[in-house]
Amino acid sequence: MSEKILEVKNLKKYFKSGKGTLKAVDDVSFFINKGETLGVVGESGCGKTTTGRTCIGILDKTEGQVLYKGKDVHSLKGADKKAFTKEVQIIFQDPYSSLDPKMRVHDIIAEGLRAHKMCATKEQERAKVQELLTTVGLNAEHATRYVHEFSGGQRQRIGIARALAVEPEFIVCDEPISALDVSIQAQIVNLLIRLQKEKGLTYMFIAHDLSMVKHISDRVAVMYLGTVAEITDSNSLYRNPLHPYTQALLSAIPIPDPEVEEKKERIKLIGELPSPIDPPAGCRFKGRCKYATDICDKERPELREVETGHYVACHMVK
């Protein structure tokens, strides 16, 4: 059994708003093993980004616990906190807002090196930055340029180089390819996979594109309205989806093959996504689920392990 690098226990993250309490993440539990990729999928507003950001301490939690290598992420202080910022990094969705437009590429990448005093001399720092640029597939000459001269895909590479600079073990990839063109997406995904193999990284890969998540992840967590609906390894998620929401989601993904598409039976969801502000009691999905019964109204389904490593939160799955 591999070692758990991150463990999330009953995490809740609420935001107070004028209209009520927005329950962005409501009682979520999962773990990530060292060296694996956990994909987190869900539609907009399901709390996947909030979960990712709370896990690495960018956002405070409301309740629950996030343990990184056994230590509570939200109560780290001093040297422990500094060490945590060296081990855990994030890659962002928007390649435009994630890089400081007033800085040169060299300074952007060197920022982490400086914060952790990883290079003794300027020479070392320059060599390290150039090595990082080559690792992510850019040119060493790019170091003196400003970010506005780069395309979206190249910017994303700079963002990856920045995260890699501090030699992290765990990286949260927050929709790193959603803003990119199709032909560029594969470049970035292949780069991330290569880096994982070379450096033994652990990823939490957040995305709404289920086919890409299935491709890159070892295990996948499907989120719906602040809760985890199902977690399992990526192949059994496709072959044997148990949660009705996962089934509907899978059937909605277009497949680039006319014959397959024509034969495909789509499971249509009834109704609309409820608001995460004061969401329905009981099962969050019940209003759109054709299997819903009385118990779904009354009780919130627990995330249960129904097969080895296959967790589902649904009353109807036996």
């Binding site: 960018i58 060296k86 990094q89 994030i90 962002f92 400081d100 007033k102 920022e111 982490g112 501090v166």
Partner: protein, 311 residues
């Protein structure tokens, strides 16, 4: 097999052209993006008024700096020639003591402009510091600092300065401090609002995740990214400080005699306004032109530097 649809010039196609191409992988493409400076230049080019303002402002500033080139001493009296009209020797005439009005206005400009610019620098420093800390830290610190800003903005600043000067002698330094003390609040508000949006940007979050200290985040990421807004606020703040200084000098609370500023020249001129309106018109015109140019330039800068206002 494939059917050719486009007519081809057979002679131009040689078999060796079909060899696999060797590509230079390391080619770095040219950039077509504009820098801030290029944007600025192009928006000045499109705006004739802005160029005119820049020229006028630079002329006033330069001639104030080089006022010593004038053949007259600003304080030298020439009673025989008092209240003279414009002439070849005295371009804008002389005042009630026979001093050359033009030279006096230039020396007055030194005082007015240096008070204005110094007050701006001080107020921008205070405003940026308080605004960025307030916005970045948020919570109680923000609430307290913003109430302080509210208090400063709700007292009548000129009256307070006048009261203050009844206890403390007024000179250049106290004047600059006083003016800055009541004008940093505008900058602070702008800086705070910008900080609030900037601190949510991903590059600031990235710096936090990298373990960069808060002070460094403010210095390296937040302040440089609102440099444009600060510049705009600063240009308007100079205009405000010059006006306030003139008003104070006019009321007799400006710099001490015999030093003069545009404001004190105006005060001087009011006794003779009926005999020689030119005495009041000259410093008045200098104040008007300077403030107007600064305001227009501030507006142009704002449009040039703010991408949301781009067409």
């Amino acid at each position: 097999m494939a059917k050719l649809l486009t007519p081809l010039d057979k002679a131009a196609i040689r078999a060796e052209d079909f060899a696999k191409a060797v590509k230079d992988e390391n080619k770095v493409e040219a950039s077509f993006e504009r820098t801030v400076f290029q944007q600025l230049v192009s928006s000045f080019r499109q705006n004739k008024l802005a160029i005119l303002c820049l020229i006028v402002l630079l002329t006033i500033i330069l001639s104030s700096i080089f006022a010593f080139l004038s053949p007259y001493d600003p304080d030298e009296m020439d009673v025989m020639n008092k209240m003279a009209g414009p002439s070849a020797e005295h371009w804008f005439g002389t005042d009630e003591l026979g001093r050359d009005s033009f030279t006096r206005a230039l020396y007055g400009g030194r005082v007015s402009l240096s008070v204005g610019f110094s007050a701006m620098v001080v107020s921008v420093i205070i405003g940026t510091l308080i605004g960025s800390v307030s916005g970045y830290v948020g919570g109680k610190v923000d609430a307290v600092l913003m109430r302080v800003v509210d208090i400063f903005q709700s007292v009548p600043s000129l009256l307070m300065i006048i009261v203050f000067f009844s206890f403390v002698p007024s000179n250049m330094v106290t004047l600059i401090i006083m003016l800055a003390l009541f004008s940093w609040t505008g900058v602070a508000r702008i800086v705070r609002a910008q900080t609030l949006t900037l601190k949510e940007r991903d590059f600031v979050v990235a710096a936090k995740v990298l373990g960069v200290s808060h002070a460094k985040i403010i210095m390296r990421h937040i302040v440089p990214n609102m440099a444009t807004q600060i510049i705009v606020a600063a240009s308007l703040s100079v205009a405000g400080a010059i006006l306030d200084e003139s008003a104070l000098s006019f009321l007799g609370y400006g710099v001490a005699l015999p030093k003069s500023s545009w404001g004190s020249m105006l005060q001087n001129a009011q006794q003779y306004i009926l005999y020689d309106p030119l005495l009041a018109l000259i410093p008045g015109a200098f104040i008007l032109l300077t403030v107007l140019c600064l305001n227009i330039l501030g507006d142009v800068l704002q449009h040039a530097l703010d991408p949301r206002l781009h067409k």
